[in-house]
Symmetry: C2
Subunit: 163 residues, 2 copies
């Protein structure tokens, strides 16, 4: 079902997942890949500011609002129930790779961000874990990268999923 | 190509297109339809606030960012060139009807919002015009509705496109 390769960056809160993801996205972009990301969000999702036109469409009850500029497209839509990762990925058919932040219950390959003093036990599922990114040296059954080594992780991703 | 019925609310600036659309959306929702809207946007399109996680993904170079809550999904993506209306509509496959605000150059059926003193000449294409919504009485070859009569316009839309 998932034609675009999907990998998940997982880890407990405050391990620095977003910071590592920023480095990884920038590295993959530098190598010429089209990168999409997916994340859960627990607050409200708005595309526009209060008073602006598409905000008014949404407030009037529109189930979905699309806005288009010459360089970007934005969509916000209601869903009857929480969408599966597959439904979310289907919004990104033309990416070379999709990276989720979190979604650790899904069966995607996982990279765990480990931070000394924060990560007390593994966040990733052992059978899906392909790498660990850490601020300290660790012994693991999968490759462990220093968390500044986005290039090393990008090499692994290219090798496993993009060639 | 367009399986979901698509109609366009057109009119010159400051005729009250968004205000009329709010009423029409609310009326169609009251009748049980799933309504999507599409609009051009000339500023930046952001899904998240500066400093928040998906904003950081986008700033790091992600070509597309999806966020998902239990009730909503949001997507912002870059496009190589401005997407066609058909590409935009393809984001909304499960709506009962899609209403565009503007897009008057497209070949969709058009409803013109006319406002006395503002609308000096027609904004809609005569061959696509299905109705006019106006703040004054007008003589036209298509039905003319008072601009508070969202119910009348919804009747027309139901009759022409939703039955």
């Amino acid at each position: 079902m998932l034609q675009v390769p999907v990998i998940s960056v997982v880890g407990w809160s405050n391990t620095g997942k977003t910071t590592f993801l920023e480095k990884l996205i920038a590295e993959l972009k530098k190598r010429g890949y089209r990168v999409g990301t997916v994340k859960h969000h627990h607050g409200s999702i708005e595309l526009d500011k209060p008073g602006k036109d598409t905000y008014r469409h949404a407030r009037a009850g529109a189930d979905a609002v699309v806005i288009a500029s010459p360089e970007k497209v934005g969509l916000v839509r209601t869903t009857e129930r929480e969408w599966s990762l597959q439904q979310l990925i289907a919004l990104l058919p033309d990416m070379d790779i999709v990276i989720t932040e979190g979604f650790k219950k899904e069966n995607t390959p996982q990279i765990e961000v480990y931070r000394h003093g924060v990560s007390e036990r593994p966040a990733a599922k052992a059978e899906q874990l392909i790498a660990v990114v850490s601020d300290i040296d660790l012994e693991r059954e999968v490759p462990v990268y220093n968390w500044n080594d986005a290039a090393g992780v990008a090499d692994l991703i290219e090798h496993k999923f993009l060639r």
